[in-house]
């Protein structure tokens, strides 16, 4: 079976010649759609994967040489369907049965509405609530993102064999337990969308919170998350959750270049060079927040409100001129739909900026259930430091570090701790 990689020929992320790069880009953009249609037509994820992969490999062989065809989706679909028919016939011969695959060869192109629905079905199957979050993330990256198993494994820091097994088990559950391949009904949709958004946000955040350098593959997950959020917004342009999710990711990602200094050290919002923020992404994100807010006049959506907070920061000309009143108000709105200790901690941090560290610390100390959360200790440490209580601040930094955070974030805490010790 072909094991060709939909993204790069050698897995390094670089294409030697531009024709190959452009072919790869088109293939990547179309892959999930072809797969989605084939799953519907064949009723089998495994068969559809094999047939789609075959078409992808053929395209990557012939397009750089012959040029990208006028209708790349049609080309891929015809090749993939033919392959699916071959596979079904072979299977039937093995079982001694007559194949019923002829209808697959129907050459009528799929209308855009059908392609859109196929893709939506695939999204909701990949993010079905009866699958574990780990399984959803892996399947979304493999199936919707078109990453190879090796790429998914590297991105999620799991051995390739483990990842292959996880994906096989997931597909087996979909097939044997009959996870339905359909778009949720109107009344199911809000709940199901929250699940899809959580999966996509997790993918983005895995990449966004990773460091640089040796974590480059993981950083690529931020791009994957954004790509998936864009796809959702294209498929469901009227859903506030989807618009809010894309806005939130765009606004967070707009700061990516400014988050680390040249030595890879984490810079806080207050320390970042705002001229390095991506203005185009901010404009797009803020515009989306506006559109999404107009669609949620009665019931705030969690992602839209989180994006609104991000927009307050993105639009502030400097840290000192952050509209803290607005930030705090948005957190209060968020608490009405998503009341978690972490949201309360974020609100407390904003209160500390507006009303001073003592007011913030009182709120932080009043929070229950965050004693295992490193950022609760880190927030206390920062506020204690500002209140000139160095001994307590040092103890809090040490507790935050003991609970384990990743590279650049831990470095930041250690630097603060060292400043206090000096």
């Amino acid at each position: 079976m072909p094991t060709g990689d939909a993204k790069t020929a050698d897995g390094t992320g670089a294409w030697a010649d531009p024709a190959a790069a452009s072919a790869a880009g088109v293939v990547r953009a179309e892959r999930a759609r072809i797969l989605a249609t084939l799953i519907r037509v064949t009723g089998s994820v495994d068969l559809a994967e094999d047939a789609t992969q075959d078409a992808v490999v053929r395209a990557l062989e012939s397009w750089p040489r012959d040029g990208v065809p006028e209708n790349p989706r049609g080309w891929l679909l015809v090749v993939a369907r033919r392959r699916a028919v071959d596979l079904i016939r072979r299977e039937a011969r093995r079982a001694g049965k007559e194949a019923e695959a002829v209808s697959l060869l129907d050459p009528t192109p799929e209308p855009p509405q059908v392609v859109r629905d196929d893709l939506l079905r695939l999204v909701f199957t990949c993010c079905h609530p009866t699958l574990s979050l780990d399984a959803q993330v892996a399947l979304a990256l493999r199936t919707l993102g078109g990453l190879s198993i090796a790429e998914v494994a590297r991105a999620l820091v799991v051995p390739e064999a483990t990842m292959a097994k996880r994906l096989t088990r997931t597909r087996q559950k979909i097939a044997k337990a009959r996870i339905p391949y359909r778009v949720p009904t109107a009344e199911e949709l809000p709940d199901r969308l929250v699940g899809v958004a959580a999966t996509v946000y997790l993918i983005f955040n895995e990449g966004y919170s990773a460091g640089s350098g040796d974590d480059l593959v993981r950083v690529g997950l931020a791009e994957e998350g954004l790509r998936l959020a864009r796809l959702l917004a294209e498929l469901m342009p009227d859903e506030p959750t989807v618009l809010g999710l894309l806005a939130l990711l765009l606004l967070q990602n707009s700061r990516r270049a400014a988050r680390l200094d040249p030595d890879g050290r984490l810079l806080l919002l207050a320390e970042q060079d705002r001229s390095r923020w991506d203005r185009a992404a901010i404009t797009a994100g803020v515009e989306l927040v506006g559109r999404a807010l107009r669609r949620t006049p009665h019931h705030p959506d969690r992602y839209v409100v989180q994006a609104a907070v991000a927009a307050c920061h993105a639009l502030a000309p400097s840290y000192d001129r952050t509209p803290w009143d607005a930030v705090i108000s948005w957190y209060e709105v968020l608490l009405t739909v998503h009341d978690t200790p972490v949201v309360r901690l974020n609100r407390a941090a904003a209160v500390a900026e507006r009303d001073g560290p003592a007011a913030g610390l009182a709120l932080v100390d009043a929070l229950d259930g965050l004693h295992d959360y490193p950022w609760w200790h880190a927030s206390r440490a920062e506020l204690l430091r500002r209140l000139a209580r160095p001994t307590e601040a040092m103890a809090a930094y040490e507790q935050a570090l003991a609970l384990g955070t990743n590279g650049p974030q831990a470095d930041h805490l250690r630097r603060r701790l060292a400043e206090l010790t000096a």
């Binding site: 044997k176 337990a177 009959r178 996870i179 339905p180």
Partner: protein, 114 residues
């Protein structure tokens, strides 16, 4: 149409005891409401009545029995239903109406047709 088994895990109760009558009534109501998809099922006597059977040394070897269930867990297997449902969504929605779903947990699994 696929068949699913819904295994109910709850406190290790005696369904025949008078104090379970109210809950048994809830199960009967479930049985009535979900009649269209229920193919079969049963409530089980408590795990104290269970015997776990093994054959030592391979097929035809000595029959070894232990008193009690296969696994001692806080919540025990106390019953099961066979459900004919269109897909997992329908099976989950049906299982969510079983009293065991709020008094314990229900494990839903597809059945291999034999």
């Amino acid at each position: 149409m696929p068949t699913y088994i819904a295994l109910t895990y709850t406190a290790d109760v005696d369904w025949t005891a008078p104090e379970q009558a109210a809950e048994m009534q809830e199960y009967r109501e479930f049985g009535e409401a979900a009649r269209a998809v229920i193919r079969g099922g049963a409530a089980l006597y408590p795990t104290a009545t269970a015997t776990t059977v093994r054959v030592g040394g391979g097929k035809g070897g000595d029959v070894l029995t232990t008193d009690g269930p296969y696994a001692e867990t806080k919540e025990a297997l106390t019953g099961f239903y066979l459900l004919d449902c269109a897909d997992l969504d329908e099976a989950v929605a049906t299982a969510a109406k079983l009293p065991a779903a709020w008094n314990g947990a229900v494990e839903v699994r597809p059945v291999i047709p034999l």
